[in-house]
């Protein structure tokens, strides 16, 4: 178990593969994070955001061009991967095709000249945990995707490392298996209590697995927080839109006399929201963010917020129905009751609670009136 500390870590490529010029030569910039011992940290973001690069720097497969990476206080920036006491699960599994499952799992221990009895014991233990004992004699090519995934996990388990690194380990599995393995990895983490970094582009995976989540974009950390806080208190429009499915709706709003207004919607703000907008110099316009699950169908003209538009798409999902409503220029998604009695083309009136909206600066996209300083979340706050 270990505390991993990344201090001003950066990765700069001379020329970024697949990118023109030096436009985005910084793959990762100014990355700061201190994990708790045994914490499950998820790095999430769209592709090319630098999450995998960050993990590869922790693994030692890439060298950080600036900053420090410390594992239990020791700066490992110049230490070879094999001397970092880490284990990694690759997206492609990266099993050794010419070795049996047993030897795939035993390889690291054999290299360390661990006594044979000990190797056998540890491989069998790991195989038992992952329920792959019956596969030990097989070659990777004779395994299904899910089985290979388990073997890759087992290979990491037998090492009993200080830190687990998992680089999108579930992205090659089908949806059902992914949900299963997600729960299994979480259980495994709880059982072993090893500090784990997990990279994914899937925000559902991030939300369900991570104790803390690092949201990245263009090589920079956007926010580090618990799943709940990311959902409830996103620091900017990017995080707000990235976390949660379906995504948050954004409407460009004009602010006047305590009310936000735009084509097809209006919302009377609470006093604390008004003061947040009042503090801002550019308060005449802002982004109004509202999650689909916070919209509900209404007939009466209640206070608070309401929006109105023509229904363009109806998607019944069983427990709920998703409706897309054209509000001004924007297509707003709403999560509504299962038995929605509207037709495509009908005008739908939706209400929302002003307490559940998010306001963002029109220029910087930062959340307006946010009380907590996002920088404080870099430090571990148990």
């Amino acid at each position: 178990m270990a505390i991993v500390e990344l201090k001003n870590v950066a990765k700069r490529y001379d020329s970024m593969p697949g990118r023109k010029g030096n436009e985005h030569a910084n793959a990762v910039e100014d990355f700061n994070l201190i994990t708790r011992d045994g914490e499950f940290v998820v790095l999430v973001g769209p592709s090319g955001c630098g999450k995998s690069t960050t993990m590869r720097m922790i693994a030692g497969l890439e060298h950080n061009t600036a900053g420090e990476i410390r594992i239990n206080g020791q700066d490992v920036s110049a230490v070879e991967p094999r001397d970092r006491d880490i284990a990694m699960v690759f997206q492609s599994y990266a099993l050794y095709p010419h070795m049996s499952v047993y030897h795939n799992m035993a390889f690291a221990l054999e290299l360390k000249k661990t006594p044979k009895d000990e190797v056998k014991k540890r491989v069998q233990e790991a195989a038992k945990i992952l329920d792959i004992e019956y596969l030990l004699d097989r070659k990777p090519r004779a395994l299904s995707g899910g089985q290979r995934q388990r073997v890759a996990l087992g290979r990491a388990l037998v090492r009993q490392p200080q830190v687990f690194l998992m680089d999108e380990p579930l992205s090659n599995l089908d949806a059902r298996l992914r949900v299963e393995m997600r729960a299994e990895i979480t259980r495994l983490h709880r059982r072993l209590g090893v500090t784990t970094f997990y990279v994914t582009h899937d925000q559902t995976e991030a939300m369900t697995m991570g104790q803390r989540i690092v949201v990245m974009r263009d090589g920079r950390i956007q926010q580090i927080d618990t799943p709940y806080n990311l959902y409830e208190r996103p620091v900017n429009r990017f995080v707000a839109g990235f976390i949660g499915t379906p995504s948050m709706n954004f409407l460009k709003a004009d602010y006047q006399g305590g009310t936000l207004k735009g084509k097809g919607f209006s919302c009377t703000l609470n006093p604390h929201q008004q003061s947040a907008l009042g503090d801002s110099a550019q308060c005449s316009q802002c982004w109004l963010g509202i999650r689909p699950e916070h919209l509900h169908q209404t007939e009466a003209s209640t206070g608070g917020g309401r929006l109105e538009g023509a229904v363009e798409v109806i998607e019944p999902l069983g427990p709920v129905t998703m409706a897309q409503v054209r509000v001004g220029e924007t297509l707003v998604t709403a999560q509504l009751a299962a038995h929605l009695e509207v037709q495509i083309g009908d005008t739908l009136t939706l209400a929302f609670d002003p307490d559940q909206i998010h306001l963002f600066d029109i220029e910087s996209d930062r959340t307006l009136g946010l009380e907590t300083d996002p920088a404080s979340s870099v430090q571990a706050t148990a």
Binding site: A59, G60, L61, E80, P81, R82, I86, A87, M88, F90, Q91, S92, Y93, A94, L95, Y96, P97, H98, F107, A108, L111, K112, K139, P140, R141, A142, L143, G145, R155, R159, N172
Partner: protein
């Protein structure tokens, strides 16, 4: 499958065009194989039949020419031994040099890797005769003329660019994740190479080795110019039947057959081994 669906198979031409293509393939195949067939047939003839102006396909075969080509004075076994030593030696040394070179280029590429590869292969564009004089002078000064070591060195450098290129392409087929997984598992570069990469690339290394062996075995330019007797290979032996007392077609053919036979047999046996793929199932 019905005839009509066969006709629609992509890439398969039907009707007149198809027949023409088949015919063309046969003509090319026979044209390429004919010289070999003719050499074998000639080797089984008497000198008189072999020399006759009207080609004969039906004759009573004799092993006389083989007997005289193998006779004590011909030195077949001496030449054959030289061929084995130089071909095998240059193949082994070539692999020993090509593997680490290709490994570095495939798994730790730099900005100049592509250039280096193209440059290496471009050295093959130079005709051998173009460097004959300097090589000859250097070899004379170093006392390497007509030595097995000298010839082995020449064969090695002659085949090295192709060997590096081939091994490189086999290594490139191995996902880099596997190398990274090994390094995280605690393997040193040497351990990764010997315990992970080489077993995976074995079929590729075998075909590279076989090709190098064939090229070295069949090489005649350097063998004829840089050796006299001590290091002379079967190429020199075959050529020696075309001299002095005149042309002896049947004996020359028998010598040719015995020169190419070992390598043809080897290629035949190694064929299946060469096309086996191991990397399937490695990733995804």
């Amino acid at each position: 499958m019905t005839a009509s669906t066969v006709d629609q198979t992509p890439g398969r031409k039907s009707g007149f065009g198809g027949t023409l293509l088949t015919l063309l393939a046969w003509v090319i195949g026979i044209t390429m194989f004919f010289p070999i067939l003719w050499v074998v047939l000639t080797a089984l003839k008497t000198e008189q039949t072999a020399f006759s102006m009207t080609p004969t396909f039906i004759f009573s075969p004799t092993l006389e020419s083989f007997k005289s080509a193998l006779a004590q004075g011909s030195g077949y076994w001496h030449y054959a031994l030289n061929s084995v030593i130089t071909a095998l030696g240059s193949t082994l040394v070539g692999l020993a040099l090509a593997i680490p070179a290709a490994y570095a280029m495939a798994f730790y590429p730099s900005k100049r890797t592509d250039f280096t590869l193209v440059w290496m292969v471009s050295t093959k564009f130079i005709p051998a005769v173009g460097v004959l004089i300097p090589v000859f002078l250097v070899y004379r000064s170093l006392g390497l003329l007509d030595t097995r070591l000298g010839l082995t060195m020449l064969f090695t450098s002659m085949n090295l660019p192709i060997m590096v290129w081939m091994v490189y392409s086999y290594f490139r087929d191995i996902p880099v994740d596997i190398v990274e997984a090994a390094s995280i598992d605690g393997a040193s570069t040497a351990q990764t190479m010997f315990r992970v990469i080489l077993p995976l690339a074995l079929p590729g290394l075998a075909s590279t080795g076989l090709l190098a062996l064939i090229l070295a075995w069949n090489e005649s330019f350097w063998s004829l110019t840089m050796t006299d007797y001590h290091a002379a290979t079967l190429a020199v032996y075959t050529a020696s039947f075309k001299s002095g007392e005149g042309l002896f077609w049947a004996r020359l053919s028998a010598a040719s057959v015995m020169t190419i036979a070992p390598i043809v047999v080897l290629g035949w046996f190694a064929q299946r081994q060469m096309v086996r793929g191991l990397t399937f199932g490695a990733v995804k």
